[in-house]
Symmetry: C4
Subunit: 273 residues, 4 copies
């Protein structure tokens, strides 16, 4: 009886340790992603285009995701629980705060102290997605479903051991390049947020840091599209890859344990992107 209890206690401790470990890794990974990604938007906007352009922003998010996967991708807990989502959200919030701190003087110089959500001196779009003028809510939602679907589909292909697959240790680069592909081809409508935490965390930061509630009300309460769209898109992408490719793989060549690890890795890499 006592032995049984000890075993349970030990397991519980191990679980808690795993969750802590994963929480910290996801936090730091998302933090770095936002720091490089939103940092590159900040550099472009605040220099009025003289030290940045659309392409450098794509590079910022590409390498942000690459580094985030190098940082957090090897920590495979794969507990689908709210702690992970919270860690990502907090990491994104913290990343946005550090971008603001890094460029505090530049923000004050550019804005004259007025942090605007819209207009020619708007800076809120450094941190979160706002739609282009031409975009309707419906087309925006479709945009996020398609873009996130493509992301998840390509990640699954890159990590699929029965397909070509990227070599061990090169997955972060290959996954980063999906972001580049999406950036150059699907960025016109609303700047490819394709990740709820990545968009919501920095948006909340702008709300509390001086841009105010308008960050949520702007463009017809646009904010929920980059949250809901990617959730739907992620499922769509995974189902398409399953139906078109995975289902048709032959007999398994891997041991079950490896499969499991691989599933954990996939989960990690998708949440990071």
């Amino acid at each position: 009886m006592e032995i049984e209890n000890k075993r349970k206690l030990k397991e519980r401790c191990a679980l808690r340790r795993n969750i802590t470990k994963e929480f910290l890794a996801e936090f730091l990974g998302t933090f770095v992603l936002i720091l490089f990604g939103c940092g590159s938007v900040a550099q472009t906007v605040l220099s009025r285009g003289t030290q940045g352009e659309t392409l450098t922003i794509h590079i910022g998010f590409t390498l942000g995701v690459m580094m985030a996967v190098y940082i957090a991708g090897g920590v495979s807990g794969a507990h689908v629980n709210p702690a992970v989502s919270l860690a990502m959200f907090l990491g994104a919030f913290a990343g946005a705060a550090v971008v603001f701190g890094l460029y505090y003087d530049a923000f004050m110089d550019y804005t004259g102290g007025v942090l605007a959500v819209t207009g020619s001196n708007a800076t809120a779009s450094i941190f979160a997605s706002y739609p282009a003028k031409h975009l309707s809510i419906l087309n925006g939602f479709i945009d996020q479903v398609i873009a996130t679907g493509c992301l998840v589909m390509c990640i699954l292909a890159i990590l699929d051991g029965k397909n070509i697959g990227a070599p061990k240790g090169m997955e972060p680069l290959a996954i980063g390049l999906i972001i580049m592909a999406i950036g150059v081809s699907m960025g016109l409508n609303c700047g490819y947020p394709i990740n709820p935490a990545r968009d919501l965390g920095p948006r909340l930061f702008t709300a509390v840091a001086g841009w105010g509630r308008e960050v949520f009300s702007a463009s017809g309460h646009w904010w929920w599209i980059p949250v809901a769209g990617p959730m739907v898109g992620g499922v769509v992408g995974a189902v398409v890859y399953l139906l078109f490719i995975e289902l048709h793989h032959g007999e398994p060549e891997k041991h079950q344990e490896e499969e499991e690890n691989s599933a954990k890795d996939k989960y990690e890499m998708i949440t990071m992107s």
Copy 2:
């Protein structure tokens, strides 16, 4: 007798399963290629150059091919049959349709509802190749033969196990970079279609989606050049690599079975590019 029949039935089922599998993979691969590639042209044209440039279009096709190879390159049926060509054509058609859907609002905003093949607001060139003004039909055909020849020659080098060869899992990146090389050096004449299905599928989409028959009649019925030219070019490239390099490799180091797989892989990767 009955056993013999059963064996035949089983073989037929396996064949059918293989064809289905390959059909789906080729469809999805070409779909993604067009989505990223034509998407990057759409983003550049529809933003009037503010959110894209020649280089981002090259990146779009480069990464489109890279992701297409990651998706479809590991599914090696290598049945040279019409089903594969059909799958690629349909995948390209579907990819074009999704680009149109993704940017529907932007298309309406840019064109005012008039989908033009020529003129300053032309959008047909987002989907298919049209020649520059200076280009004659003969020079256009030569262009497609040279560019596709180079593509096939470089793919064969990258996949040649007796040459340096790209490491396992990195072939998609290396093959994608051939597209980049062709894009920066051979894109001036007609935008490097170098793949019949890639050009014809989206062109047919524009014909039915509102641009009309002019997509086939424009520029002196240009449409057949990007179909016929690459077919000739592919053969030329393969023959040149054979004569200059492969014929002179020493004794075989690989087992026959591996060779066969490798041939299948080559076939897959070439059709995907």
Copy 3:
């Protein structure tokens, strides 16, 4: 007694040999880094932007670091001693001198022989960091701490054998890409020096080569920020990675010796970046 002395002598010789070896490697590595990095700034400034842009400068430093790590990264002495710092400083000084020699005619043509630190024809910023107008000393210091912290954190992730880690031989590329990430996202304030020797060596070169003492007095004696900031930032980055990731790795899987080598490699790669 004599045998003991011989052993000591031999050890001392080996140590001296190792220090020489490492001195030369660090010198050559930093030399190449500055040659490619500052060379790309020179090309951009001296062509008045016609043959270079912000992005090509990022590429110059990215590939400069990549090549520096290929050159010096395999020479692992890991003696934390002043000789290494001196080698890096001298290598950076020599690299700056060669950039000046390479573009001597272009410098004379551009400047009319007047080597200015400030003003519209300023060329001192080709070699060392000067802050943007908007930047305060405090924000500048924070900038260098954050940017160098990110650099060290990402290097540690890329080299962490218990995380994903870059494949053997690809670390230089991955580390180079961190510089690109920092360049596109954190370059606006003062151009991401993030390395004391890299900034101080070329700055001293400009002081003696004709730009004069103003290179140290300019912008409120800015010069010490890119020296002190990165030192603090490096420690911060290492501590953050330790607390968030390394501490939570499970039981060791590597032999002690390997660990030691790995620690030496990390040290080398960080000093090179």
Copy 4:
């Protein structure tokens, strides 16, 4: 006696076969390098900068070298004989001819039929190096020595099995990226020819194809600098790497045969770049 003769005959045949094999590989490799490299200059010049820029030209040569190494780098004869130099020269000549053919209509459209070496409509610089106005002969020679020295030094580091070294099959990418590094940092003076055959072959093509003898007399008979400079620079780079790094490697870890192969590979990869 007869047996001895037979053996000699067989050896001679093998040697001849090896030389043929290497001749063809070097020809094709240099051909592709010039096709992508000079093609990217042609695209930029002939579109008057609308479909190309300095960066796409760097990409053209970077990927040209990468593909050339994939094509010819695995054919290791390493006979230092005039046949190899001739093959490279002929390959470069043929590459230039194909670029001219590919863009024949564009050349006629751009030039109005007058192939000029100097002036605002000059097109000779598409094929060979011409110095910038500011450049003296002495500085031009130093430029070629430094740039080629860096190239050889970095190639030796990337291929050095006792240093970090690029992974097998990734050397072509790493070597290509050296060209990019040189292009962004050392291209201002005369456009980094850094290879005698690469510059001389296409220059001779322009001489016979209609640009005339001025391609040799222009800029104070500049043509010999990109021939002689790289020869000196190559030796300098190899000696520097030997003195600073290779000499200080510890005891050999490889078998002699491997060393030999590795030496052959290095030779091949250097001649290709």
